[in-house]
Amino acid sequence: MKFLSVILQRLFYAAALLLAVIVFNFILLSLVPGDIADTLAGESGGASAEVMAEIRRSYGLDRPFYVQLGTYVAKVVQGDLGKSYYFNEPVINLILERVGPTLLLVVTALVMAILIGTLFGVIASKKPNGLFSHFVTVLALVGFSAPVFWTAFLLIVLFVAMLEIMPLSGLADPTTPRDTFAWYLDVAHHLILPVLSLSSIYLAQYSRLARASMMDILGSDFIRTARAKGLGDTAITYKHALRNAVIPVITIAGLQFSHIFSGAVVIETVFTWPGLGTLAFESILRGDTPTIMGILFFSAMIVVIVNLLTDLAYRIVDPRIRSARNA
């Protein structure tokens, strides 16, 4: 019961947070000069003041600000994110079309950063002054200092232009028939460079973090107890130490999910990956306010959900939190 009430409380906070996100996004975007009437008039090469007013009226832009806000919030609560000015299609459809590739990119990058980063950290912690440990330190420094788009361009120069073993852009080759096994392979092939670029920063950070926390844990009393019980190195490292050492990595990864999500906008644009990032970028250029707000709201929702999941993952890994939060 306690667990349930904790979950309910968290869901309540999450809903309040999302409401705040909607309101703030709405206010921010209405502060941006220029609206749909300007865009349409610009595209059709000019319009009279009456036509402009008519457009504004048809989109409900002539009503007072708070009425517009209220209408929008009421619609969002019912799952209606409005219609895109540009595509003239429900925003929710546009998002659902694009969310798959984005999640594929972001989740693959995050999982890779966590798994490989932790593995690097564990191996490095075994010999803190060894060659591999120094390699991890340098990798962390370089990875953390390099902007993702720069890493992306360097990878393109190396693998696409010079070695010619990787595709430049897109989700898959347009000539490959969709949803066949070959298509999935092709998607995986196209995924490699964006994932490498996006995960580089996080991989670097997590390997450094895992190395430090493993070294800390390996010196603790309960590791000595484990040795005194007659356990071997493997059980000590991967059972007793790793489960403790992975806690800070999960914490940071959960907190950084929003960073990696925004990093995806840049990476998707560089690789023309057909995800939410490119849609957001293009919609900003087009002044497609409903789509921008829809994407912002949707990404906020994903971040909130991931934070909830991180919290759950915590409880599974660390029993101390289970009871501390229940209390």
């Binding site: 603790s220 009393d221 309960f222 000595r224 107890t225 484990a226 040795r227 005194a228 019980k229 007659g230 356990l231 071997g232 059980a235 007793h240 489960r243 403790n244 890994v317 660390d318 029993p319 101390r320 009871s323």
Partner: protein
């Protein structure tokens, strides 16, 4: 094994540590025997080599910077210093177990105590998950933890220090080891809990016949628990005798000093009570021990040759051994 064969024989054990200030001679020829079913107390100040002796027996001395440079440790005749690491993993937790000073941090916080006890049993006896878990419950009952069936699923942070030390004892005894090394098992606990832990150890020793090495700096614990006592100073045994001999007729000036340091309940309250005595000076740095007796700079009876030559352990009769020039026959002038 007949009754006269010692269970564990430690002979001439030397351990060195490489430090920035040179080689620290942490143990300088420690020798003792363990009689089955008895308790040997090892006393001394911090840094005298008590814990290092224990870690050497478990072969858990961190190498490097440490090094076991000489000696032998024979368990039922088998030299553990020559044993492979694989063999040592079988010995640890099965033949020789250890409990530590810090019950608060000596258990892994992310596994339930049942898991941690069962793990030892599974590693050494290859029991099934179910059977190992049953053994864990049984062990928790043996160390007098109430509602053992329920508490077996709890995590270390849900227990008090005394309870955790009981769990450590349950874990250490789960495979019925012949030797239990208790390294200051009660230092971190409340006084009332200390007595409970000692009572428990004695009770379990009577039931199982386990031999205990009790490492402590607390003379009260020695009086309570030990059959024999080894007093250590700067990596050597200063004196070794029965508990009775040590407490009533200590020979080595260091032992005499240690016993004089203990306050007695029977003493009159202040102001009539004489001030507590102390041993002047500090333990010497292990990196620059001279050729003489390492206690000489602090010794009230120090003679000239004490500063130049190390006294060898001398048998005084009745198993009372002391390394001091005061008792050396034909002492070099």
């Amino acid at each position: 094994m007949d009754a006269t064969t010692p269970l564990l024989e430690v002979e001439g054990l030397k351990v060195e540590f490489k430090t920035r200030r040179g080689i620290a001679k942490v143990l300088e020829g420690v020798t003792f025997n363990l009689e089955p079913g008895k308790t040997l107390g090892i006393v001394g100040e911090s840094g005298c080599g008590k814990s290092m002796t224990a870690l050497s027996i478990m072969r858990l001395v961190p190498i490097p910077p440490g090094r076991i440079s000489a000696g032998s440790i024979r368990l039922k005749g088998e030299d553990l210093l020559q044993a492979s690491e694989k063999r040592m993993r079988q010995v640890r937790g099965k033949d020789i177990s250890m409990i530590f000073q810090e019950p608060m941090t000596s258990l892994n916080p992310v596994y339930s105590i049942g898991d941690q006890i069962a793990e030892t049993v599974r590693v050494h006896e290859g029991l099934s998950r179910r059977a190992a878990f049953d053994r864990a419950v049984e062990m928790l009952k043996a160390v007098n933890i109430p509602a053992a069936e329920k508490r077996v699923n709890e995590f270390p942070h849900q227990m008090s220090g005394g309870m955790r030390q009981r769990v450590m004892i349950a874990m250490a005894l789960a495979c019925r080891p012949s030797v239990l090394i208790a390294d200051e098992p009660t230092t971190a606990l409340d006084v009332t809990v200390q007595a409970q832990v000692f009572d428990l150890l004695k009770e379990l020793q009577e039931k199982t016949g386990t031999t205990i090495i009790l490492i402590t700096h607390d003379m009260g614990a020695i009086a309570e628990m030990a059959d024999r006592v080894m007093v250590m100073y700067a990596g050597r045994a200063a004196e070794e005798a029965t508990t009775e001999q040590i407490l009533t007729a200590p020979k080595h000036p260091y032992t005499q000093g240690l016993i004089a340091c203990v306050p007695h309940m029977a003493d009159k309250p202040p102001p009539e009570r004489p001030p507590l005595t102390e041993i002047p000076g500090v333990v010497p740095a292990l990196t620059d021990l001279g050729s003489g007796c390492s206690f000489a700079p602090r010794c009230p009876h120090a003679m000239d040759h004490c500063h130049s030559q190390m006294p060898q352990p001398q048998e005084l009769g009745g198993g009372h051994r002391v390394a001091c020039w005061l008792y050396q026959e034909g002492a070099v002038a």
